[in-house]
């Protein structure tokens, strides 16, 4: 059973755990560093798994329920590993007015998955975003984080195909 008080050991030799620990140390292992630390886990590992949430909760002396609560409450955190590539299509208001639902439907059809899912081979994740703040260039897609504005269905499908044949 988990006991609060003693610092838990790093879950493994992976150097990334030291980065995670570094964020907590920088904040004096204070409870309020929970979200900051989850951000570090996600940026280091790409997602939050049970082991990571447990490690952070024990280190910060935060109940597991609170850590899991925060991890699931905030949309930015993902509990599933992302695909090798991630296509994010913005669905903010400006993009919606410029026809982003068409783009999403076309991408879903091309990949055979729904938004929020990853292809069976783990190659491509299809995500939507609640506004990336590039509304002046709507509609907008982020291909592995790289932003393209005034995007057409053809450009989107082309990008997905480039990833598929890699």
């Amino acid at each position: 059973m988990a006991t609060y008080g003693a610092m838990p050991r790093l879950p493994g030799d992976d150097k990334r755990w030291k980065i995670v620990n570094g964020t907590m140390r920088k904040n004096g292992f204070a409870r309020h560093a929970l979200i900051e630390t989850l951000h570090t886990v996600q940026s280091s590992f790409g997602y939050l798994d049970d082991e990571a949430i447990r490690f952070v909760a024990l280190s910060l002396h935060v109940p597991l329920s609170q850590a899991y609560g925060a991890a699931t409450f905030y949309h930015y955190f993902s509990l599933k590993p992302p695909g090798k590539h991630t296509m994010t299509i913005c669905s903010g208001t400006a993009c919606y007015i410029k026809g982003t639902d068409r783009l999403i439907a076309d991408a879903e059809k091309r990949l055979g998955i729904a938004q929020g899912q990853t292809t069976g081979d783990g190659n491509i994740s299809l995500m939507t975003a609640r506004c990336v703040g590039a509304c002046g260039r709507a509609p907008v897609m982020l291909a592995d984080g790289e932003l393209t504005g005034q995007v057409t269905s053809e450009q989107l499908i082309e990008q997905l195909e480039r990833w598929s044949v890699e």
């Binding site: 951000h39 905030y74 208001t93 400006a94 609640r130 506004c131 509304c135 504005g149």
Partner: protein, 547 residues
Amino acid sequence: MNLEELEQIADTLREENRRFDHEINVCMGTGCLSQHSDRLKDELTNAVTAAGKNALVRRTGCMGLCAAGPLVLIDPQETLYQHVQARHAQSIAESLGAEPVAALQCNLREHFEEQVHVVLENSGHIDPEKIDDYIARDGYKALVKALTEMTPGEVIHEITESGLRGRGGGGYPTGLKWSTVAKAAGDAKYVICNGDEGDPGAFMDRSVLESDPQRVLEGMAIAAYAVGASKGYVYVRAEYPLAVSRLNASLREARRRGLLGTNICNTQFSFDIEIRLGAGAFVCGEETALIASIEGMRGTPRPRPPYPAVAGLWGRPTLINNVETFANIAPILRKGGKWFAALGTEKSKGTKVFALTGKIANTGLVEVPMGITLRQITESIGGGVPGGHKLKAVQTGGPSGGCIPADMLDIEVSYESLVQAGSMMGSGGMIVMDDTSCMVNVARFFVEFCMTESCGKCIPCRAGTAQMFTLLTRICNGTAAMADLDRLVDLCGTVKETSLCGLGQTAPNPVLSTLRYFKDEYIEHIVHKRCPAGVCTMQHSAAEVMA
């Protein structure tokens, strides 16, 4: 640091810049960067050297006109080039000191002439990561003046006199908020900058943080001095990586110059700022939810009172203002509250930054004096609706606001008049819709947003928005009856009156405003199973198909 030292830094940089015959400012805001303006800047640097010109090539923040990006501004001639690609670098470099490259020139005079830049005065003119650029344009003069020549009471008086109201949307008088926090008893107080710009379709705060971050830090430091705080937080969306990295760089620079830290300007005043990343929850724009999030918890709001001004972060008196509000502080102290109060209308002073997007020619960021009409913004500044379509409505206030129809474009932009029209000022999203937009579908879009973003703490919002969404979906796909419309109106009233926080209380607004002005579209969907804009797909019952 004192005023003389500040002036010396400014003079040194101005002297350095005078050595150049030309300044080439390259926009590296998110919009232009997405079109590789970083590579363009490198190309321009090389081309200037190759052409043997004596020019400074500078990275700047947003120049506003995202639709025409990448943008390049040549000073001192003030020549603005649009849609500039790397292949144009050579001709631009060679044209320096001679005739400008006519094919690239942006001649949207009207777009810029009707704007008044206070918050955006430095955007597009300074390197956002160089504090000396900011100082050379009178940056930090206001803070040094406040610390060395003014009492906290005098600072608050100046802000009160300016008539500045909160730019996050609510419009609460800033001076009054500051004086409440100043009067609150407590051994520690906090200043928080709300940069959780969750309104989809708005990017004012992102742009200010990316283009002129020091202005926000200076505003926060002045506020901290005025209310007696020694610690500040900037809460900014993790979805804005460029804003976060520029903020981080700016914090380091400000500490290095001794403008943040202990005993600033050799006074008793100490103040430092930390960044806290949001994690994609719209409700965290609500102040008590934002505080919960900084404390490391789920971002759920709590009932007020007590207001954060009395019991906020860790139970201590806390001042929360929006990015744009803080960005207005330094110019007010520099030029005086009276100067600011002379801008705008009787009750809405100063300027407002809007993110002008949607079906409009000149999409981008604009800053206009309060009291300007929506028509001036959409027609003169925005350049009208492209493609021969007709403007149908202007949406302001995001998911909390409403749609103002085309025949009301002559109303002025002020907190009061927008509320009267069934919308609200909001944080500054302004989305233009034309005859290809279905207003019922737009209402459904916003309600879906509020439904997914509802934190779930109170039932009216959690269950009410879900039921509203179901009803709107039925109307959109042609399976609703007229009685559903009554149910929808009734439900809107309940959600508005009984929700805990602003998210739920305002979630019905997009529905109510479209019902007020576009009821015929609702009826068309329900009675004739037809979407006038051709957006919604109708489901026909088997009986109808047979007939």
